[in-house]
Symmetry: C2
């Protein structure tokens, strides 16, 4: 298809949900041939993380892909993408060092290495990512720029359940009580957005508000909350313009992330 | 030219010599369109190394390139290839950790990052390297395999002066006394090859022979000598088959490397 059709590519780890669907639909609007890859990337999980538990349902995902109208579902074997004698690492150290990078030290190196490989294999014209993984998108944008990948990155807004919880494959791992508790993330984000609209500019105070809201939900444990520059992801002390609010919270044993733009 | 002609690519740091010419000639035999890049890569020099001193003579190199009959001389500016906001690093840690990697800790990371960039820009069908930089070639082969670069690596034999000294841009930095002393590298390599032919299989003894020969040349200071597996570059204790002998020596202030296949 290359050269003849515009190839839209959506790299995923499966367990498809409405967030993935919004990427597929954007690709269907903007490209001629849609490729979805499904690969639970072992390199992006730390040794104590949930690689083994990550939701997998291949037959459901195949049916979903078929129904979605995409042209190609690419399911590489782990031994193909991560052979035992692999030795090349792609990393984006400055953008990776904060936030998710603190809690998950090799996460973005694993993401960058596998996304670089998938881009080299698929050679898409446009690649689609969800805004929910904000720092990941920043890392991949930098990777594309630095390594001259000849493709465009498109980022689609986070899709949410009616109660505001961001769609995520990991939501499947939540118990029903934890599912209720998980709404605290979006409540905290919206609260800060409203405070900023009301004129609060002090990052420290805004982060304190998040801590207070989270303390009211005893199943929740804050991992980090950050207000930062939307491109560099460096923390800002005062909200002077468009700022990204990043949040990572453990609900029981499940770690969830979310973000919102403020200012 | 892409798709229509086979593109042969020779990445260089300039200061062209007969070693480069042999790569150009191979490219002229095997491809339709020859691209030579000239870029003294700052990322592959350590903070105490000879980046500032590395031989540069752009007008001579331009004339040489013109005469050689290549189709394109690509001279990117440093700010294009290594902009101040670059953040992506490509590394091949296992193959880089020994030998040159010990003496030059970030060297191969710098090589891999820039070669990956040059491959992405030029998109050659075949890329040419000299056997003199043996470990570099191993790193680049691994990089090409791991990141699915759609190109073939060709390695041309080391070109030598009549007295055996391997052609290298750094030879220009040798004083005339040091130039004479530098012949000790090839003498040591040939001596080991002959010892292996005579039946010696013990790596430790063979390396001792190199040390002895180098001690006779008082301008020379051994950096490392290694007998290793030709692909993994892991050291071997006994010469049981094809083995690579790697040698790095300082002659005065100039660091030279060479290698030879034995067994």
């Amino acid at each position: 298809m290359r050269g003849k059709k515009r190839i839209g590519f959506i790299p995923t780890m499966g367990a498809f949900h409405e967030g993935h669907l919004s990427l597929v639909q954007a690709a269907q609007r903007e490209s001629d041939y849609q490729v979805v890859s499904l690969f639970v990337n072992p390199l992006q999980f730390g040794p104590t993380e949930d690689f083994a538990l990550y939701p997998r349902d291949l037959s459901r995902d195949r049916a979903w892909a078929e129904q979605s109208g995409i042209d190609l579902l690419f399911i590489p074997r782990a031994g193909e993408i991560v052979p035992t004698d692999i030795d090349t690492v792609v990393s984006v150290p400055l953008l990776s060092r904060r936030w998710e990078g603190v809690s998950r030290p090799c996460h973005f190196q694993g993401v960058a290495t596998i996304v670089a490989k998938l881009f080299q294999i698929v050679k898409p014209d446009i690649a689609y990512f969800g805004q929910k993984d904000y720092q990941q998108v920043a890392v991949i944008r930098q990777l594309v720029r630095d390594l001259y990948f000849d493709l465009k990155i498109r980022v689609m807004p986070t899709v949410r359940d009616k109660d505001g919880l961001a769609k995520s494959s990991r939501n499947l791992l939540l118990s029903s009580n934890d599912r209720v508790a998980a709404t605290v993330l979006y409540r905290a984000l919206c609260h800060v957005r409203q405070s900023v609209r009301n004129g609060e500019k002090n990052s420290l105070l805004l982060k304190k508000e998040v801590e207070l809201i989270l303390r009211q939900e005893k199943r929740a444990r804050l991992d980090y909350v950050a207000l930062c520059h939307p491109r560099t992801l460096e923390p800002v002390n005062r909200i002077e313009g468009k700022t990204i609010l990043l949040l990572a919270v453990r609900i029981g044993s499940v770690r969830l992330i979310d973000n919102i733009t403020v200012g």
